[in-house]
């Protein structure tokens, strides 16, 4: 799972008001290099929630991102390289994503987050009601 994906993911448990950002518990992180696409990075910069992104990159052991960023920094190659690396090249291979409100852990195995809610949670709330 890339941090781009992490920046989009939100806990979808019913009743959770703010399920974003999910806290990362990193057990294994991988780096896979990909070609840089400046246009994509510039578009993504507008979408990315910067604080969540910086926190996530630190949870993954990457500390090169500035605390704050604005679009003028996109002219800097050094900034773009770091943004690119953290957004697209860092992968959470093993670990979990934790809902900020409920503490529910969504496991990440072999790079794949499983965001399904166990049916027990859904069913029981119906049946018990």
């Amino acid at each position: 799972m890339r941090l781009l994906t992490h920046n989009m993911l939100s806990s979808n448990i019913k009743g959770v008001v703010n399920g974003f950002p999910l806290r990362i518990e990193a057990e294994k992180v991988a780096e896979k290099s990909v070609e840089m696409n400046r246009e994509f990075l510039k578009k993504m910069f507008q979408k990315v929630h910067w604080k969540a992104f910086v926190d996530a990159s630190r949870a993954m052991g990457y500390t090169e991102l500035p605390e704050k960023a604005d679009s003028s920094m996109l002219n800097s190659d050094e900034f773009l390289n770091r943004f690119h690396h953290a957004l697209l090249e860092l992968h959470l291979e093993e670990g979990a994503l934790v809902c900020p409100e409920t503490g529910r852990r969504f496991p990440v195995n072999k790079g794949i987050p499983n965001m399904l809610l166990p049916q027990e949670e859904v069913l029981l709330s119906i049946i018990i009601c």
Binding site: M1, R2, L4, T5, N7, M8, L9, S10, S11, N12, I13, K14, G15, V16, G19, F20, N37, E39, F40, L41, K42, K43, M44, K47, E101, T102, R104, R105, F106, P107, K110, G111, I112, P113, N114, M115, L116, L117, P118, Q119, E120, E121, V122, L123, L124, S125, I126, I127, I128, C129
Partner: protein, 429 residues
């Protein structure tokens, strides 16, 4: 089956999941001499009789699920039996059931009693939750099947549909595309200038995508775990026809619209009732009336217009398409013919067979499990394990009507192509 040995210490609670471990003794008919002691995971608990300290347990799962409490495992689970058993448990009041933000925990608690906390909960969450809870028919005849046939399905799914390809290539440079129900990921990465994120409810299919280097996750299209407005565009190709209620189909469309930005486009395609190859339908099994009502619910268009025609008069096996079909028709009178035609036209709920060749079925233990559980059958003549996939095929205008309640989207285009109904929506606000 008797249930006893209910030591309260055996109730455990990993995370928010409700896991009650109960020792059960099965008086097996095959092995009458020795009792087989197993552990079960209790799935459904109702509060019936709880004022008398009795819990009603409707179904339980085998211990393997308990030891491996991941969603993947649950997809392959077979219910041991829909029996009702009563647990005489005087300490039950220590077990508090609490519905909070739709989460349930069964845990020792200081709070009063089950009955009290249960009656205090609810708050109208039932309807919204039931849209998100996966009906049995989808679990058994969609999720389970795709998990079992994933490699074979994937090996036969490579043709890219031109309409989808052209939608993808029309996306501006640097777009983020979300594919909800991506299957084996054949559309992921189709436009080199864009970034793709796919999700599917089948872990087996998602693993195939991941092995191919795609960015994917396991998620439910009816309840996308995405922030609102993050995607530039979204697609849902041949997914909605696997959802068994109108509310769930509508919710899936709402989710696609929700996750794209304002101005973003959403492409949805579904199988049509109007199949260009009409012989295809004769290979499908129309769902029996009772199942339609039981599983799909009264909200479906099919259930609202019940036909008096019994199932037996409908060609339902593949043999029927080879000539026996005609014989059946000639023996029925004109009235019956007309009724049958009407019935087939109204018919939207089907089982569509998937033939998994024996040599592939042997690879995964899932098929053996499915055969044992009656979810699949063997066809020795074809040398295949036959799985049924649930489909709700769409009638003309049905996709459009599902979007009428969505205020922040307009229809950009809709068309019929290759036996599919297709719609392109634009998020307007």
């Amino acid at each position: 089956m008797d249930l006893y040995s209910l030591d309260p210490t055996k109730f455990v609670k990993p995370g928010f999941g409700v896991c009650c471990r109960v020792s059960a003794t099965i008086h097996s008919k095959q092995a009458s001499t020795t009792d087989d002691v197993r552990h079960f995971r209790i799935l459904f608990i109702s509060r019936a009789l709880c004022h008398t300290d009795w819990l009603m347990i409707h179904s339980v799962l085998k211990t393997s699920r308990f030891l491996n409490p991941h969603r993947e495992a649950l997809g392959l689970t077979s219910v041991v039996g829909d029996f009702v058993c009563h647990l005489a448990l005087s300490s039950m009041k220590q077990i508090n059931s609490k519905v909070d933000s739709s989460l349930c925990t069964l845990a020792p608690s200081k709070e009063p009693s089950i009955a009290d906390s249960v009656s205090a909960s609810g708050n109208g969450t039932i309807s919204s939750m039931s849209v998100q809870s996966t009906p049995e028919i989808e679990k058994k005849f969609v999720h389970h099947v795709y998990d079992a046939i994933a490699p074979h399905f994937s090996a036969t799914r490579f043709a890219k549909w031109p309409k989808v390809s052209s939608f993808l290539s029309s996306l501006p440079l640097g777009s983020l595309l979300l594919d909800a129900g991506c299957g084996n990921g054949k559309y992921l990465g189709l436009n080199q200038d864009c970034s793709f994120i796919g999700c599917d409810i089948s872990p087996s299919l998602i693993k195939i995508c991941s092995d191919r280097g795609h960015e994917v996750l396991v998620a439910d299209a009816v309840n996308l775990p995405y922030r609102t407005g993050f995607g530039d565009a979204a697609i849902s190709i041949a997914v909605l026809h696997h959802l068994s209620t109108e509310n769930r189909r509508r919710k899936a469309i709402e989710e696609l619209v929700r996750v794209v930005k304002k101005g973003g486009h959403v492409l949805i395609t579904v199988w049509a009732v109007e199949q260009e190859d009409t012989t295809l339908i004769t290979k499908w099994t129309p769902l029996p009336e009772k199942y339609v009502e039981e599983w799909v619910g009264p909200g479906s268009p099919r259930a609202r217009t019940p036909s008096p025609l019994p199932l037996e008069s409908i060609p339902e096996s593949e043999e029927s398409s080879t000539g026996e079909n005609i014989k059946v028709c000639s023996e029925t009178n004109v009235y019956r013919d007309l009724e049958e035609e009407k019935h087939i036209k109204n018919q939207q709920e089907y089982f569509v067979p998937w033939h998994l060749p024996y040599h592939r079925a042997e690879i995964s233990g899932a098929s053996a499990h499915a055969l044992a559980a009656g979810l699949a059958t063997k066809d020795d003549r074809k040398g295949a394990v036959v799985y049924n996939r649930y489909y709700h095929v769409f009638s003309e205008g049905e996709l459009e009507s599902l979007t009428t309640g969505i205020n922040n989207a307009r229809i950009v285009d809709q068309f019929f192509d290759k036996s599919n109904w297709c719609i392109i929506l634009e998020k307007t606000a």
